[in-house]
Amino acid sequence: MSNTRHDVHEPLVRIAKRGEMAAWKMWIIRIAAIFLALLTGAVIILLLGHNPVAVYIDMVTGSLATKTSRVASMKIFIPLLGAAIAIAPAFRMRFWNIGAEGQILAGAIAATYFALFQYRNLARPVLLIVMFLAAAVAGGVWALIPAAFKARFDTNETLFTLMLNYVAVGIVKYLRMGPWRSPTSAGFPKIDMFDQSARLPLLFGVNIGWVLVLVLAVLMYVYIRYTKQGYELTVVGESVNTAKYAGMSVGRIIVRTAFLSGAIAGIVGFLIVSGSAYTLSDTTSGGYGFTAITVAWLAKLNPIVMIIITAFLAILTKGANTIQTNFKIPASASSVLIGLILFFMLGCEFFINFRLIFRKGKKHEVARL
């Protein structure tokens, strides 16, 4: 026959879709993934000439053991969780808001205005509430701009929100160098520290922002699951055609949801400037807006799960800082560790959805030749 070039053998590895998997099996795979990540990390630490066990223990104690370290971990936890919650409704609507950074800054700018220039005119609780509201509106508006363009002209929100990040940074720089420059800072131009009355009060040693983000997480969970608006944004995310068929005004829902998303990011900006930084700078947003995307995906956009993931990441980040100082491990190496763990956690989802089939040891070839 004509097909002599056609050898008879199975492919070496095949990928096949799995059926339903029991929840406990999924968690075993996920835990195994974390374990493998730690193991791979250990190899790297060994290559750097350190004892992996000691390094790992130091990471945990460095982020949780003392009060100072716990406060430092919380300072990462609060904005990160807030930003992840902010992203949740937008992502659920498949509105790829990667502009949380800019929205955080917009909120921070608005809050800072009141902290710097109105603190004498307002009583402390009033001042804080005004800062909170101003931040929410500013962040919301910053997200509303790309949303309105998307609703009206179907522009790409990913690029639009991303670009607005740089605009926000530019505005902060301008304020720092110009109109808001502290008259007392001689060298490097910076913005004044906030007055005591513009700083968030503490609860158990940490600014009360932590209570706020936890409440927000629960509220967002309820909003997405049990409200009419949450239902609408979910339908729009799944299929715009179905939304229209059901009589939803898609444009309005997009704008409304984006505003909500931006407003929460704006509140995060307020929590950073009023809760921990006590001033505004170009780095106020601190990359939380981007890391929050990872958190949101790992949590599958579930705000309650986000709490756990954020706590985990906050501990890792703080721990990585600690081992930097204690073991003189370069900062980049700690980032590699965090990256590894995230990579393994996201990667293991593949094994939850698919299985690999290896070629069986049958001797097809010989028999056919």
Partner: protein, 512 residues
């Protein structure tokens, strides 16, 4: 071994997760033969053929081509073995010509000789009786022409074994006849042909043998000359089924919806509806026939308030009793509903428009009720409704909390139709309500529509199977390029007449 055997598939098994799509399926095809592969939805026909064409790889079992065992790991392997598959959904590049599409992906040396390719294409065309212009761009082609390109594409690659997946689903009566002539010519030329289809009369008209699958297993193979519509149906379904569609006489028909001179221009500036007028009566099923893309979708969507219409268009709803008529044009879907217009719509794209695939049954019921909620959603009502639909329409689902995308096509449609009927409509529009459904479910849907008709609902049924349209409907409106090309009495009209009106070959009272 018989030298004439082209393909032999032995004990083929393929599973997807927990679903066994094919379980020890056997099939053989001889050269110079047309084999019809028959089976209900989800019986594993397409899966089996995808393993022949290299898209899937079997879990176990053997495939012999010309008596030699082979392994088909990719579509490339399949082409080398002379197997060509024409898929239900065409895989062509729109802005290339027919000839360019035909040679796309083939290895060649040096410069491309377009003239030579065109000649070769024409030679194949002459041999089997195709009618094609190799230099025509795909976007200028009709569905039938595109299909021709797909068939020539596999022949050009030297295919001796052709697989056609539901090739007549998108063709008119006349085009189907032409295709069958071509397939017979290929058969005479010694090619082995497998045709997947739902349409039993086509199986009887065309094939030599029929292999029937049911639930992923081979039920058996029979000679076509020994088979009848009844016997094949019984093999497919597993028991005897009555194939008569009931058609009760309309009782006291009243004008319910008067569509007057509606026109619609789509995004590309093409007039998709042109001066369409008709009346839908209560207690009647109005069928709408037409080649796909003749304006059916736009017609239903404009009544539902989903597409903007040109000025001068009017759609008026006449409620029962003394209430005033309502003009629907220019109103949004929710406004229409608030005015008390009981309009239900089963769209063509079930999971992309009528339902949300990733949501469960209960949440999908909410699509039609959530608007009345205030801030929090009422989940109890929709859940009860979902349970009711599951019970009454015998929807096969693990629970009402299962995402609808996990259900089979027939059950998805039952969920959608069930929800729309639950709204107690006065006008019920359905687009391709039985497309892709098996015989059993199709008859369930016909029964539901007849029930609505008896309740005095004005039913608008957009369909593609002319036999069904003729048996189920009271009147049939034929659409041709967005225009009404005749409204016929379904009790006296013939397939041929409708077919000719669909292509515009007959009628034309409305032509310029």
């Amino acid at each position: 071994m018989n030298p004439e055997i082209a393909i032999e598939m032995r004990d083929i098994t393929k599973t997807f997760g927990n679903v066994v799509a094919n379980n020890k399926v056997c099939l053989d095809v001889y050269r110079g033969e047309i084999l019809a592969l028959l089976g209900e939805n989800g019986s594993g026909k397409t899966t089996l053929m995808n393993m022949l064409s290299g898209i899937y790889y079997p879990d176990s079992g053997q495939i012999f081509i010309d008596g030699k065992e082979v392994t088909i790991r990719s579509p490339k392997d399949a082409i080398e073995l002379g197997i060509g598959m024409v898929h239900q959904h065409f895989k062509l590049v729109d802005n290339l010509t027919a000839a360019e599409n035909i040679i796309l992906g083939l290895k060649g040396k040096g410069r491309l000789n377009r003239k030579k390719v065109a000649e070769e294409v024409l030679e194949i065309s002459r041999k089997y009786g195709f009618d094609i212009n190799p230099n025509k761009k795909i976007y200028d082609m009709s569905v039938s022409e595109k299909q021709t390109v797909e068939i020539i594409k596999v022949l050009y690659r030297g295919a001796n074994i052709l697989i056609l997946d539901e090739p007549t689903a998108v063709l008119t009566v006349q085009e189907t006849e032409k295709l069958f002539d071509i397939l017979r010519a290929m058969k005479k030329d010694g090619k082995a042909i497998i045709i997947i289809t739902h349409k039993l009369n086509e199986v009887l008209a065309l094939s030599d043998r029929v292999t029937v699958l049911r639930k992923g297993e081979t039920v058996g193979t029979v000679l076509t000359r020994d088979a009848t519509v009844m016997s094949l149906t019984e093999m497919m379904v597993g028991r005897a089924v009555s194939l008569n569609i009931e058609r009760p006489e309309p009782v006291n028909p009243q004008p319910r919806l008067i569509v007057n001179k509606i026109s619609c221009v789509n995004k590309d500036g093409v007039k998709v509806l042109d001066n369409v007028s008709f009346i839908a009566y209560s207690g009647e099923i109005l069928g709408i026939a037409g080649i796909s893309g003749s304006g059916q979708k736009e017609l239903l969507e404009s009544i539902a308030g989903l597409v903007p219409l040109s000025p001068g268009s009017s759609i008026t709803y006449y409620p029962e009793g003394p209430d005033k008529p309502v003009e629907l044009v220019g109103k949004r879907p929710l406004e229409i509903r608030k005015l008390g217009v009981a309009l239900s719509f089963v769209p063509e794209d079930r999971l992309g428009m009528g339902l949300v695939g990733s949501m469960d049954l209960a949440d999908n019921m909410m699509l039609r009720s959530y608007a009345e909620d205030r801030f929090f959603t009422n989940r109890k009502g929709p859940r009860h409704l979902a349970e009711e639909v599951v019970r009454q329409l015998h929807v096969v689902t693990p629970s009402v909390s299962t995402p609808v995308s996990r259900l089979s096509g027939g059950n998805v449609q039952k969920v959608l139709v069930g929800r729309e009927i639950s709204l107690a409509p006065k006008v019920l529009m359905t687009a391709y309500a039985v497309r892709g459904l098996d015989i059993n479910t199709s008859y369930t849907i016909y029964g539901l529509l007849n029930e609505q008709k008896k309740n005095g609902v004005a039913v608008i049924y957009v369909g593609e199977d002319l036999d069904v349209l003729l048996q189920l409907c009271d009147r049939i409106l034929v659409l041709c390029s967005g225009r009404v090309n005749g409204i016929l009495d379904a009790r006296t009209a013939t397939r041929e007449e409708i077919g000719l009106r669909m292509t515009g070959a007959k009628g034309g009272e409305h032509h310029e």
